[in-house]
């Protein structure tokens, strides 16, 4: 299986890259883990690839103003193994370790994954639970928007043509925050049939600051606000967790495919929400 031909450029600055991406036939190449297989099957045939790998600064992870700023070209395995991410935002590191396999994690990037917006990608669960923001550069423009505004529909984002994700911003967690990502893997591809990330705190016997992110269930990842509301302020008993998790799929048009029906996905979303909350609770101090 062989891709169609294309022009190639590997600019060394964002400005140059944006200039090249102004061509409507151009497509940005980050890790290529989604794009290259599509090109090999000739389901994608961009006229030009703009390889971002030479752009300095897109590969950095920095801590700044109570947030971690992760360059768009940081790979999943760098996130998985970065001491900074592991200590300051363990949920993201844990989630990264569930993606694909070792080789895919070595090549795939966080920016590429977010821009592709696959409904079964692992990151969205964590990023929604983290209320992540995304920095986007366009020709002469720069904006930072919450992930919720970036994500539009399955495989569709609010990125304008020619725009690039440059940075993903996640909060530095308080040491007392408990987090967990729980997932059922599709056995062939490793994608999430359903994945749920939970993040919470517990003080004086009450749960607070609950955030729950879900992937695989709907057209894109989302924050399960109803679950959060129901759980917030409870003692986190098994019954309370189950009650809250029961609403996770409400109002969501659930995906269906060869590997799981919509009903089953809705059910799994509840199961993995319970598991993620329980695990997060066990880690919260």
């Amino acid at each position: 299986m062989i891709p169609q031909n294309f022009d190639y450029a590997a600019p060394s600055t964002i400005e140059e890259a944006l200039e090249l991406l102004a061509d409507p036939e151009a497509k940005a190449l980050a890790g290529g883990m989604s794009l290259i297989p599509l090109m090999k099957l000739r389901l994608a045939a961009p006229g030009r690839l703009v390889d971002l790998r030479r752009i300095a600064g897109l590969r950095e992870i920095r801590q700044d103003d109570g947030a971690l700023r992760i360059g768009a070209l940081v790979t999943h395995s760098e996130i998985e193994s970065s001491p900074l991410v592991r200590s300051r935002c363990p949920l993201l590191a844990e989630t990264a370790s569930h993606i694909g396999d070792l080789q895919v994690r070595n090549a795939g990037t966080i920016g590429g994954s977010i821009a592709h917006n696959d409904p079964a990608a692992d990151y969205p669960a964590a990023l929604f639970a983290l209320e992540a923001k995304v920095k986007v550069a366009g020709k002469g423009t720069e904006r930072t928007l919450p992930l919720e505004e970036l994500v539009v529909d399955a495989m569709v984002t609010a990125l304008e043509p020619g725009e690039l994700i440059t940075e993903v911003i996640v909060p530095v967690e308080a040491a007392s925050t408990g987090t967990s990502y729980q997932k059922m893997r599709q056995p062939a591809s490793g994608f999430a049939i359903v994945g749920v990330a939970a993040r919470l705190e517990k003080s004086n016997g009450r749960i607070g600051s609950v955030r729950v992110g879900v992937t695989g269930l709907g057209p894109s990842g989302f924050r399960a606000r109803r679950v959060e509301e129901l759980l917030d302020g409870t003692a986190g008993s098994d019954g309370e967790i189950r009650e809250a998790a029961a609403v996770v799929a409400e109002g969501v048009e659930a995906n269906a495919d060869l590997h799981a029906s919509a009903d089953y996905r809705r059910h799994l979303a509840q199961v993995f929400t319970v598991r993620a909350i329980r695990a997060a609770l066990a880690r919260a101090s």
């Binding site: 389901l43 994608a44 409904p119 399955a154 495919d257 060869l258």
Partner: protein, 146 residues
Amino acid sequence: MRITGSARIAAAAPEQIFRLLLDPAVLSKCLPGCEGLERTGEDEYRMRMKAVIGAVSGAFDGTVRLSDQKAPQSFRMAVEGSGRIGFVKGEGLLKLAGQDGGTEIAYDGEVQVGGMIASVGQRLLDATARMIIRRFFTRLSEEAGQ
């Protein structure tokens, strides 16, 4: 693949929506990637489409056929298209009902997908099909509001 669901368009009554849905100019604006509908017969059109779904893109040539028109309640729509990346063939019933000054559109159809997109796209077929339908009705809603 069975595709069923419904969409609500707040701004227009069934009579108007029915008219819009049967207008090739409107249809071609609402179908994502449609590059034009050309009338080839009574309620029959030739369609050219460049579908772009994320990084995936593919050109399709096909036909759209409308039948069993019962204005303003219902009609059937049959779509066929084929291109390098596969083919799609579907037929469904659209039912329109007035609701609070707007229109509730219920659709129920069966879609066959073949070729490359069927053999490698399983994981995303359902999600993308429904995404296309959502975008269709969003645009229809915009048309209706104008």
